[in-house]
Symmetry: C2
Subunit: 165 residues, 2 copies
C-alpha cells in the first residue's frame, strides 16, 4: 500500500488555509516553504504537512502579528532543530551531542523570550482594558440601583469651548 497522500493543487490549498494563491507563491518565493511535489506539467502539489505549515504561518502573521521575516526566522530555527535531531541520531560523540543540544536550547530560549515579551505587553493591555470595564460596570450598576453616583461633582464652568470641530 502506497501512502499516496492526496496532494492538493494551489487553489484548494488556498481555500483550505484562507490564504490567496498569490500569497502562497510569494511565501515560496521568499523561502518559507516548498510544495511537497510538482506535477508532470509543473503544477505545485501540497501535502498535509504543507497545509499545517501554511496554517501556522498564517496564524503567526494574523494572530501573533509577526512579519514574514520574523516568521522565516522562527521556521528557520525549526529547520535547524530538525537538522540537529538528525545529526544527534547519527553521532555518538558525547561532546558533539552536547554541543548540538546546547545550540538547540539556545534557539528555543530565544524564541521563548521573544514570545514572552510580546505576551507581557498584551497582558498589560488586557489588564488595562479589564480595569476600564470594571469601572464602567460599577457605574452602570450604580445607575441601575437608582443612585446617580456623582452626577455633577463640581460645576465645570464652561469647558473653554475649544474651536475644534
Amino acid at each position: 500500500m502506497l501512502p499516496e497522500t492526496t496532494l492538493l493543487r494551489i487553489q484548494d490549498v488556498a481555500a483550505d488555509t484562507g490564504l490567496t494563491t498569490r500569497a502562497i507563491r510569494y511565501y515560496e518565493e521568499i523561502g518559507l516553504l516548498e510544495p511537497a511535489a510538482r506535477s508532470e506539467g509543473a503544477y505545485r502539489l501540497y501535502d498535509e504537512s504543507d497545509l499545517e505549515r501554511l496554517r501556522f504561518i498564517r496564524s503567526l502573521r494574523d494572530d501573533a502579528g509577526f512579519s514574514l521575516a520574523q516568521i522565516g526566522q522562527l521556521l528557520e530555527d525549526e529547520r535547524a532543530r530538525e537538522r540537529n535531531r538528525i545529526r544527534l541520531r547519527s553521532t555518538t560523540d558525547r561532546a558533539e551531542r552536547r554541543a548540538l543540544l546546547l545550540d538547540a536550547l539556545d534557539r528555543v530560549d530565544r524564541q521563548i523570550e521573544t514570545l514572552e515579551h510580546k505576551k507581557a505587553r498584551l497582558d498589560q493591555m488586557i489588564d488595562d482594558a479589564r480595569a476600564r470595564k470594571a469601572h464602567l460596570d460599577g457605574h452602570l450598576a450604580a445607575l441601575d440601583a437608582g443612585l446617580e453616583p456623582h452626577a455633577e461633582p463640581a460645576p465645570v464652568r464652561e469647558p473653554r469651548q475649544e474651536p475644534g470641530r
Copy 2:
C-alpha cells in the same frame, strides 16, 4: 503658578520615545495624535501626555505587533470613551447615561476580545516552545548523567551524503 508644562520639540520627543521625527509626523498625518501646541513659527510642541501616547503607540506597534490602522482604531475607541465621559458628566438623563455606558462597555469588550485572541495564540506558541525546551533539557541531563538515551536506535545507513554546503 502657571502650569507651563515644559513643551518639547519634535527632535527631543523622538529621542525620548525611540521613534523618528518622520514617524511622529506621519502618525500625525494619519490622525493618531496632534501636538499639544504649535510655536509662533509653527514648530510642533509636545507635552507629557503626548509622550505617553507616543510611547503607547510604539509599544502597540513593536511589542503587540498591531498595524497603525488597528492602533488608530484602539485609540479612536479611547477618544470615544473620553467623549462619553464628558457627555456623562453633562447629562442627568438616566436613559442617556445608560446608553453611553453600554456603548462604552461594548467597545471595551471588543478590545478585550481582540487582545485575548492574540494572547491565546501566543500562549499556545509559548507552550510549544517550552515543551521543546523540556525535551531538550531531558536529553541533556541524560547525556550528562552518563547514559546515552538512545544513541543509535536503528543503524542509519549512510545519511545519503547530501551535496549541501
